[in-house]
Amino acid sequence: MNELNKKLFIAFLLIFSLGMTALFVLREATESKIQSLNVISNVPNFELTNFNGEIFSDNNLNEKITIISFIFTRCEGACPIMSKNFSILQTRFKNSDLVQFVSITVDPEYDSDSILKSFSNQYSNNDNWYFLRGDILDIITLSENGFFLSASLLPGGHSTRFVLVDQKKQIRKFYEGTVDANVMELQNDIVTLINQS
């Protein structure tokens, strides 16, 4: 083997091993993203009503990919950002009838059906976003025990997290609803769930 061929051979070997390493890293990255979506737990039974007075229960989560948030309409800090992010996601997934959105008020005494309805008109641009209310004690239990989200000192102390629930009513992951990077991750995870189904 002459000098040039030897160098070319070494270069080829280096690039080949670089490619193999990259392939390994890419596989690990994909794997880790799927693993981060592992099932956390099942959504418990619940029964709330939407602003039309219709019952919305855990059965309405079947066969749908649902993103859940806890908000209240008088809230001026996080809720407008969270609801804006819901609105953005709603627009981006408007062509999928698999995806739905649920916002549960933590201030059901003030947030009457009509107030929730006008809040909905402000943010929602489709009919797949449900605004729910019910007994405040039920809502606290659902938040804390069902979704592992703190619900102390309501309404101000509600969690700002989004919950991703899959088609089998299983909680898959939580996201900080006010952080853009987290919302982007949620978007990618919704795509992953859609593609898996």
């Binding site: 490619g19 990259a22 890419l26 990255a29 993203k33 939580f174 990077a181 982007m184 978007q187 990618n188």
Partner: protein, 305 residues
């Protein structure tokens, strides 16, 4: 001796920078860009956490994916290594080549670029991977390897003067190479534009398949292919002019450019017809950075001093 030392230092910085472009591409292709949500630390630590318990309370643990964090941090650590290698290069340049204006200036320039590149990396993270900023981050890396390649060949010529003295100067080929380099940059900008727009489309339309995203692009995507074939003929022309060159290195670099352009076209078409596989994307980007540097080396091998 000192010339050789400086040359070796330049080669080290160049090779590390090329590796950095590869790893940076890997970060983009694998979607690990937000692996560390903060900068320059990762989850508030200089060494990324190995478990969720190590994450400070002010950072949301739901962001944590250990694999993605380490991929992203690998890019940063290699970036630091490149920075150090360029600092060494600058120390040598200031020490030995104070009177050699072009070498001193280009070394200092590489230092400025690498610092700017690091800061731009911070912006990439804080913008949550804005496709424009990500692309700018890549383009600046191409400028860095261009400057470093220039330093490599110029310092190599310092202690191989007699080898290059016998080279016949040819203005046509020199001018052609400048033109070729400019076309390559335009080609890269077109390619980057395609990538940037695909990512922008994907953000607003997450449900589109890769093929549909590509179809949603305007017709300038064909310009990228068209110019690619143009570059293939151009590199054949350059090889034709180099065929009688007495400098073996020049001929070899000519072959390399031709082979690389052909490979790039192959990889590019592979991406279009096979739904953009990640590894192809990675090597397509990396190959373009090689072309940028090699043309600069070839130009400086045969130019009129």
């Amino acid at each position: 001796m000192k010339k050789k030392l400086f040359f070796q230092s330049a080669v080290t910085a160049t090779i590390l920078s090329y590796l950095l472009i590869f790893v940076g591409g890997l970060v983009r292709v694998s979607g690990s860009g937000m692996g560390c949500p903060d900068w320059p630390k990762c989850f508030g630590r200089w060494i990324p956490p190995l478990s969720v318990d190590q994450i400070p309370s002010y950072i949301d643990p739901t962001m944590f994916n250990i694999t993605l964090a380490w991929i992203e941090y690998g890019n940063r650590m290699l970036g630091v290594l490149v920075g150090i290698s360029i600092i060494v290069l600058n120390i040598l340049a200031i020490y030995y080549f104070r009177k050699h204006f072009s070498l001193l200036f280009s070394s200092l320039l590489s230092l400025v670029i690498v610092i700017a590149e690091g800061l731009l990396g911070a912006l990439v993270v804080s913008s949550v991977l804005n496709p424009f900023i990500v692309s700018l981050h890549m383009l600046l890396a191409l400028i860095l390897v261009s400057v470093l390649s220039y330093i490599c060949i110029q310092s190599f010529k310092l202690f191989n003067a007699e080898y290059f003295a016998k080279v016949e100067k040819n203005n046509i080929i020199s001018r052609s190479l400048i033109f070729f380099w400019i076309l390559i940059i335009i080609e890269i900008l077109l390619g980057t534009g395609i990538r940037t727009n695909i990512e922008l489309i994907a953000i607003d339309n997450p449900l589109l398949s890769k093929g549909e995203q590509l179809n949603a692009l305007s017709s300038y995507k064909y310009l990228h292919s068209l110019l690619g074939f143009g570059l293939l003929f151009f590199s054949i022309y350059i090889n034709y002019y180099l065929r009688n060159n007495s400098l073996l290195l020049a001929k070899q670099l000519g072959y390399f450019i031709l082979a690389m352009v052909a490979l790039q076209i192959f990889l590019g078409e592979l991406m279009v017809f096979f739904d953009l596989p990640q590894l192809t994307r990675l090597f397509h980007t990396w190959g373009s950075s090689w072309l940028v540097g090699v043309i600069i080396i070839l130009y400086n091998c045969i130019k009129n001093e």
